[in-house]
Amino acid sequence: MIIVQNLSKTYRSGEQALTVLHAVDFHIAPGEFVAIVGPSGSGKSTLLGLLAGLDTPSAGGVRLDGVELSDLSEDERARLRREKIGFVFQSFQLIASLTAQENVQVPLELRGEPDAAPRAAALLQRVGLAARCGHYPVQLSGGEQQRVALARAFVHEPRILFADEPTGNLDAATGHGIVELMEALNRERGTTLVLVTHDPELAERAHRTIRLADGHVVADTRNDRGAGAAEVAP
């Protein structure tokens, strides 16, 4: 599904160069649930941005579903995101002037799909927000907003879902509920799930954990619950 080879990212700040990722290598298979963990500043969000095609690497590359992302233009990557990728953000990133249902419709409308409204309504029902379809984000709680964001991320049946600290702005109970929902949708649709988190409990729920520190992959373990972690072969 995703092949990362020798991936590096360096930012320039005036005269200085800051390397955030150093030659990262790993594979993610279709349907896998992967957690990327590490302390603040370890490069997790940078890695997520590169995996999703939101940014371009300084060296190396990312092949997603057989397509080398750095060979694509920005619009081509946008098209790829439209077809194959779903997003969940820490700060929900709902569009404030759209209702819950309208937010969920957006990915389908961008693809020109005619049945966006009923599909969005159905998915909102699936996440337990049928009664909130017509509410604006400002009228929803944090947990409700994140469920709308989840519905938006899944509505166009992406092959892969990227989540950046999806429970970061939620209390523990609400956060657990969100993760359960993500796992359920992941199981139902076979979506590959890549989740960035600094919450170790959340990371344990994933099939596999990739640990970053100072821009390097320092551990890549399979989380066989009950059997303990096992190293993943590169």
Binding site: S45, L48, G49, A52, L54, D55, E74, D75, A78, R79, L80, R81, R82, E83, I85, F87, F89, Q93, I95, A96, S97, L98, E102, V106, P107, E109, L110, R111, G112, A116, R152, D164
Partner: protein, 872 residues
């Protein structure tokens, strides 16, 4: 994405921003309103002229001449009544009218008319219905302005020349007359058969002879004019049909509308600048949303399309509001210009004007929104993940930006050409706007850069903070200074130009040493007038003889041959074609202008230059009078510079003049620059005394009579003793000119106000744009211990400075433009009326501060906790 979906998404996404968007885009409303008002005015003029065409002329065909009709024309006119075609003759001249009861005099425009005039339209009188009684005796119908000036009323008698007339009514309305003309020479209608009794038509009098013919059958008037064209040409008679009158008046008046509309274009383009600025700020606020859309898979064209749809929709709303406003105010222009127009403007709802105005408004909004919308391409989707992100790169040679700039430039040019109705004028206007805005933008940025460099450390904190707000990141200072400054520039330039045009005519002004002008003074009367002046202790400033003449030959070529050479026509045809300038480029180089060759010259003779002249080339003749003697004598002549150019003559060329049938041979000895702005007798051609001292002549005298009462008394006495002499009080002329210029200026200023109002809307938009930043800043200051008064003082300083900078930029540029116009175009001295300009500066600055503070009142209503919660 389908178009319907794009519009739906655009509409939904704009939900909470519509009021702000509408405010931004209403900056084009005022420009659209000005254009619609002017278009409605122009259409109303066209309708008025079409409805009143025959009444404007008073007949189907009008014949006119500066000399009595020749034998052929007279015979033709005499034959028409026998053939059942009604005609009415009219004779017009300027002369003094005296009210014996009050003793007052006034120059009047006499019109002696035959029965039947006018054949169409009504001359309205007060009391009503008295016009037909004009012919019943020695009656007169007078302009109310004349009666007021004479202290007379209906029922009084007036002395006109050697005759007396009973005033039976006051004029209310004469179709085709321009009301304001009565300020210069109020009208006095007399029966034609009593004109001779006045004794006013004498040698040298400027008299216009007219004949009005009624030929109502369609095409009959034009056919009649064509049939007798050769006769009219031979006898120097001009003919005009009602259709020609309608066409020419429509052209002239709609051109007025076109030029006024250009001022509306100013306002619209300013509004476009406001749209560009506001859209830029709006898109900056929408960066997060754009980033999310990009994450969700929206392509750059899709994002561009969503926000372009918003701009177009708001532009349409703004334009529709503007069109409605224009419809509401279109009645103002006819009221402002009523006295200057010869027709009643027939206003109505003009769907074409409304659609055109609205369409233009939408187009301008879209064209100016393009560049800021293209900036959405640089928003990185990474912005959805973190705060600080490098913008996406676009190619250095960006075809889309180039296309947007080209669309913008083409739009400005197309708008200017459409409104001006001429490619040349429109292009010049567009170039002028571009240059003015470019200079203003540079000046604005320079001023802001200068403010940034000011040493402010020693200034009080409140002043320092207000100054710093002007150049903080995301500030709108250059845009507001540009928009407001442009309005100030427009108003100030108009005022400076009007001031400098009128200044030479003011009492005590450079050119106005004399204030009383006597003309049509016969040779044997000038001694008497000089004696009258001397006896009362009044100074005679200037006197000049006037000798009417025509050109017979130039460099040995007969004027008829000259005319033949001009257009290959036969001599009579070419010579007698209607007087109009052929203009540069329409005749061969070295050939004279036809109008210059065929016109009558009112020349003078003297042996010295006067104060309003300056010798340019050649030599003056002081002492030298002639070459040769008797009929072979050749005299020097001095020509005014422009007439020499129009006659295509240079120093040493010969001109033979026809002076009342006597040939006078001359050689061009010199050329002069003449200050035509001075109210003194100035002449195209000046001869030595020896050449014309014995020629038939009249005189013009100029006197300086300080008090109005003394002028009135002198005028009365002169008119009583010399009824044919016309006397003009130049202070009244100056007042009349002031009134005319004032009316025109008022109309222009009314439209210029749309520009300055647009500037204030741009200011409102800028305030709205920085609203969040301003609230955060004030909350922070409050948290640190500042009082509301201190916060308010900082805002007041910021807006006062904004207004002051706009005034500085606009007024500075206006001084330059005013000087350039005075020096290069009008050729008058340039002076600055500091007091009115200072008043304008203070008013704009105060208004800017007021508008800014009013728009920022939300700052005072928010508590720190509210804002911090929102931020969290």
């Amino acid at each position: 994405m389908r178009a319907r979906t794009l519009w739906a998404l655009a509409w939904r996404e704009s939900r909470f921003a519509r009021r702000r968007l509408f405010l931004f885009l209403s900056s084009i409303s005022l420009g659209v309103a000005a254009l619609v008002a002017v278009q409605g005015f122009s259409r109303g003029i066209e309708r008025g002229v079409a409805d009143q065409a025959r009444a404007l002329l008073g007949a189907d065909l009008a014949l006119a001449s500066r000399q009595p009709f020749g034998r052929g024309t007279t015979a033709l006119l005499d034959s028409l009544p026998r053939a059942g075609v009604p005609i009415a003759r009219a004779t017009s001249l300027a002369s003094m009218a005296l009210a014996p009861r009050t003793g007052r005099t006034r120059l009047a425009q006499l019109r002696a008319v035959e029965p039947g005039f006018p054949f169409y339209g009504q001359i309205e009188t007060d009391p009503a219905g008295r016009w037909p009684e004009l012919q019943a005796g020695r009656h007169a119908v007078a302009d109310p302005a004349l009666l007021v000036a004479l202290g007379a009323q209906v029922g009084d008698s007036l002395a006109v020349g050697d005759a007396r007339f009973l005033v039976i009514a006051a004029l209310q309305k004469v179709p085709g007359d321009v009301e304001i003309a009565s300020s210069f020479a109020p009208r006095l209608y007399l029966p034609a058969r009593h004109l001779a009794a006045t004794g006013l038509v004498q040698f040298g009098s400027r008299v216009d002879y007219e004949a009005f013919v009624r030929l109502p059958a369609p095409g009959a008037a034009a056919a009649f004019a064509r049939e007798h064209a050769a006769l009219f040409r031979a006898e120097r008679v001009r003919s005009r049909t009602a259709d020609e009158q309608q066409q020419s008046l429509t052209e002239a008046l709609t051109r007025l509308g076109d030029y006024l509309g250009l001022i509306g274009v100013f306002a619209l383009l300013l509004g476009g600048i406001g749209v560009a600025s506001a859209m830029g700020a709006y898109m900056a606020q929408k960066a997060d949303t754009v980033a999310v859309l990009r994450c969700l898979g929206a392509s750059a064209p899709q994002v561009f399309g969503i926000y372009l749809a918003q701009a177009a929709a708001m532009g349409l709303l703004g334009a529709l509001v503007g069109a409605g406003l224009g419809l509401a105010v279109q009645g103002v222009l006819p009221r402002l210009l009523a006295d200057l127009l010869p027709v009643e403007v027939r206003l109505g709802v003009e769907p074409g004007a409304l659609l055109a105005g609205a369409g233009v408004g939408v187009w301008v909004a879209v064209a100016f929104a393009l560049l800021p919308l293209l900036a959405t391409r640089r928003v990185s989707p990474l912005l959805a993940l973190r705060r600080r992100v490098e913008p996406l790169r676009v190619p250095r040679r960006d075809g889309w930006r180039g296309a947007a700039w080209a669309a913008l430039a083409a739009s400005v040019l197309a708008l200017a050409v459409w409104q001006a109705g001429s490619l040349r004028v429109g292009a010049a206007f567009a170039l002028g706007i571009a240059l003015t805005l470019a200079v203003l933008a540079l000046v604005s940025r320079g001023i802001v850069a200068g403010v940034r460099r000011l040493p402010t450390r020693r200034l009080p904190y409140l002043l320092r903070q207000g100054l710093a707000n002007l150049y903080r990141p995301g500030n709108q200072t250059p845009t507001v200074v540009l928009a407001l400054g442009f309005g100030v520039f427009l108003l100030a330039t108009l005022y400076l130009t009007q001031h400098n045009l009128l200044r030479p005519l003011l009492p005590g002004g450079a050119g106005a040493r004399a204030n009383l002008l006597f003309w049509d003074v016969q040779a044997d009367q000038q001694a008497g007038i000089r004696e009258l002046l001397r006896a009362r202790g009044h100074a005679l400033r200037q006197q000049a003889p006037i000798v009417p003449m025509r050109i017979a030959r130039v460099n040995g070529r007969d004027v008829r041959a000259l005319a033949t050479g001009l257009e290959g026509l036969d001599a009579d045809t070419a010579l007698e074609m209607p007087e109009r300038r052929t203009g540069p480029g329409t005749r061969d180089a070295g050939e004279p202008e036809r109008w210059a060759v065929r016109r009558e010259y009112r020349s003078t003779y003297r042996d010295t230059l006067v104060a309003s002249e300056r010798l340019l080339q050649g030599e003056w003749w002081s002492g030298r009078g002639r070459r040769g003697a008797g009929v072979g004598a050749v005299f020097p002549v001095s020509l005014e510079r422009d007439i020499a150019r129009d006659l295509a003559v240079a120093i040493g060329d010969s001109i033979t003049w026809d002076v009342q049938g006597v040939e006078l041979r001359t050689v061009v000895a010199s050329t002069r620059a003449v200050d035509w702005a001075r109210f003194e007798p100035n002449f195209f051609a000046v001869f030595p005394s020896a050449a014309l001292a014995d020629a038939p002549q009249t005189w013009v005298l100029l006197a300086d009579v300080p008090s109005a009462a003394a002028r009135a008394t002198l005028q009365r006495d002169v008119v009583e003793r010399f009824p044919n002499v016309a006397v003009v009080d130049l202070t009244q002329v100056q007042q009349a000119l002031d009134a005319v210029l004032g009316r025109v200026s008022t109309a222009i200023r009314f439209l210029a106000l749309f520009s300055i109002a647009t500037g204030f809307i741009v200011l409102l938009g800028a305030v709205a744009t920085g609203r969040l930043q301003r609230i955060r800043d004030s909350v922070l200051l409050r948290t640190l211990g500042a009082t509301w008064r201190q916060v308010g003082a900082i805002l007041l300083v910021e807006y006062l400075l904004l207004g002051a900078l706009a005034v500085l930029a606009g007024a500075g540029l206006a001084l330059g433009a005013g000087w350039a116009l005075a020096h290069w175009l009008f050729r008058v001295d340039f002076a600055v009326p500091w007091a009115p300009l200072a008043a304008l500066a203070l008013a704009v600055t105060a208004l800017a501060a007021g508008v800014g503070l009013l728009a920022s009142r939300e700052v005072f209503g928010r508590t720190p906790l509210e804002v911090l919660r929102e931020e969290g």
